[in-house]
Amino acid sequence: MTVKLVLIGLFTGICNGLFGSGGGTILVPGMVFVMGLKEHKAHATAIMVILPLTILSTIVYYRSSYIDWPTTLRVVSGGIAGSLIGAKLLNRIPASVLRKAFGIFMIITAVRMVF
């Protein structure tokens, strides 16, 4: 069990640091399958685990001057407003439709970024 936890933690951290995102995508299923946590508890616990990792990664990016404060501030304020609107709007669209739409968007973007 401990070995699996270390591997999940390590892999989550590496993705979170390397790509600046995606930690939860690995950690949540990891906790559901390996630890047998319920999905909503796994989501909540994942935030607790990823928050310190994000702070550490941010420090490394900061020390390499990879920070754009004006854009970051705009994104944070827009993000808070967006999440309030999104929480109300998204409930009207079926989750399965949203998932497929996001998935297609991600794949198209991925192809554009690689080639």
């Binding site: 590496i14 995102s21 616990t45 490394v60 998932r99 690689v114």
Partner: protein
């Protein structure tokens, strides 16, 4: 709906705001911090946090985060961009084909 904001925010910043890969990633990291802090307080009050395995996950995760981010800041922007694209492709595929709706 539990989809990571970063996989949408990072490409959007690059395409629409012209941010470089590293900058887009740091913006996503930083903007996660206040949102996560608020969410954490709410989850703590609702008693949703599972603390048993968390210390091991956090310690291993911190080691991984250090490896990943030190590696990232040393990579050239175009290489990191391509790696991110491959990562995004897998995430998108999982989103379409593997996720099941909760009953």
């Amino acid at each position: 709906m539990g989809i990571g904001g970063g996989v949408l925010l990072i490409p959007a910043l690059i395409i629409f705001a012209g941010s470089r890969q590293h900058i887009a990633q740091s913006i996503n990291l930083i903007s996660f911090i206040p949102v996560a802090a608020v969410a954490l307080i709410i989850h703590y009050r609702k008693n949703n946090l599972h603390t048993g395995y968390s210390p091991v996950l956090i310690i291993a995760g911190l080691a991984g985060a250090l490896i990943g981010s030190v590696f990232a800041v040393r990579l050239p922007s175009d290489i990191l961009s391509k790696l991110f694209g491959i990562f995004l492709f897998f995430m998108g595929t999982v989103e379409i084909f593997c996720k099941k709706e909760p009953e």
